[in-house]
Symmetry: C2
Subunit: 174 residues, 2 copies
């Protein structure tokens, strides 16, 4: 009954996050789009049924009809940025949150990926992301940093995508 | 008269390298494929004419007919890996060099991109790449590390892609 859709800029690690949530293999030559993944109910909170879906967007906000159809069906959105790409942080606010709010009322979990590369990104700080998103706080549930490579915080991602649906913070619209 | 084709795994920075060779703008939301770039003759070595072409490969070595056609026309190949992705280093030897040697006789310049992220990749070393490629030394001209983001060594990339054609190290086959 939970349908999680992973969205975000190119190359931020959408496919890798799905891969690492569901496999112990390293991130070796993954395809662009991961096939839909069904997590066994007994591994989910409250025995819920959880399906995780990948996406790909060449030129958002143009030509994204497939994405819009998937957004309508999703019950939670995982919006991924890359902590090593300042532009992917900026586009949360300038592009992704406004775009998503137009196409879904489902809760949004923001995920900062590639945390293993943090020490090379001196200009990146979690606090800066939080202040940048401060004016849009009603638009998402939570921001989590993780690494699909080192697996750091990945279990938190797994829990939060379920929490966002089972125990939402924001009021539910219709 | 020089036709440089940029190839390599997904997300290694092929498009960014072309962008940064030819523009001073930051790496903001680039397309998957850069349009072909013609460098003015008076900026090139020996007044040569230099065109740089981008490529994209979803599932090499399968379904790569477009790539194979471009490889036939190219006079130099820029084979890019990502220094933060050990897998992209391994695939130079296991996949890319054997594949390229089947489809072209043109000189190959190997480029290790994202050098700005080096301090977060303690397992990466240039010497390891060189030893890994030692047995294939006849298959390429040179290995250069650079960053499409910080622009470090990018001018070397520009010079070496021309040198590889104008003053080739390896014998020329027909
Ligand atoms: N260091 C590091 N690299 C990562 C991480 N997650 C993904 N990558 C790498 O980032 C690149 C892109 O990963 P993908 O999972 O294909 O990203 P994507 O968002 O699905 O990309 P597209 O489908 O092309 O938009 C690959 O080289 C991955 O190995 C991470 O947590 N740490
Ligand atoms: N830190 C850093 N990031 C880079 C560098 N070069 C590219 N990137 C980032 O890496 C990601 C992929 O870059 P692209 O240039 O689109 O890579 P590509 O090889 O053309 O990718 P595909 O066309 O999808 O195969 C983007 O987020 C770029 O901003 C670099 O030198 N340093
Ligand atoms: Mg993907
Ligand atoms: Mg590209």
């Amino acid at each position: 009954e939970i349908r999680a859709l992973v969205v975000g800029d190119r190359c931020v690690g959408k496919t890798s996050i799905i891969h690492s949530l569901t496999s112990e293999d390293p991130l070796d030559s993954l395809p662009t789009i991961h096939s839909p993944v069904k997590i066994p109910n007994d591994q989910c909170l409250e025995n819920c049924s959880l399906t995780i879906l990948d996406s790909y967007t060449e030129n958002l906000p143009d030509s994204s009809q497939i994405l819009e159809e998937e957004l309508e069906k999703a019950t939670v959105i995982l919006l991924v940025y890359d902590i090593t790409q300042p532009n992917s942080v900026r586009r949360l606010e300038t592009l992704w949150l406004p775009y998503l709010s137009k196409h879904t009322n489902s809760p949004i979990v923001i995920i900062g990926n590639k945390l293993d590369l943090k020490s090379s990104s001196p200009d990146y700080s979690f606090d800066t992301v939080i202040s940048l998103l401060h004016n849009h706080a009603e638009m998402f549930e939570v921001v989590i940093e993780c690494s699909a490579k080192s697996l750091e915080n990945l279990y938190d991602v797994f829990i939060h995508m379920q929490n966002a649906v089972l125990y939402p913070l924001s009021p539910l619209y219709d």
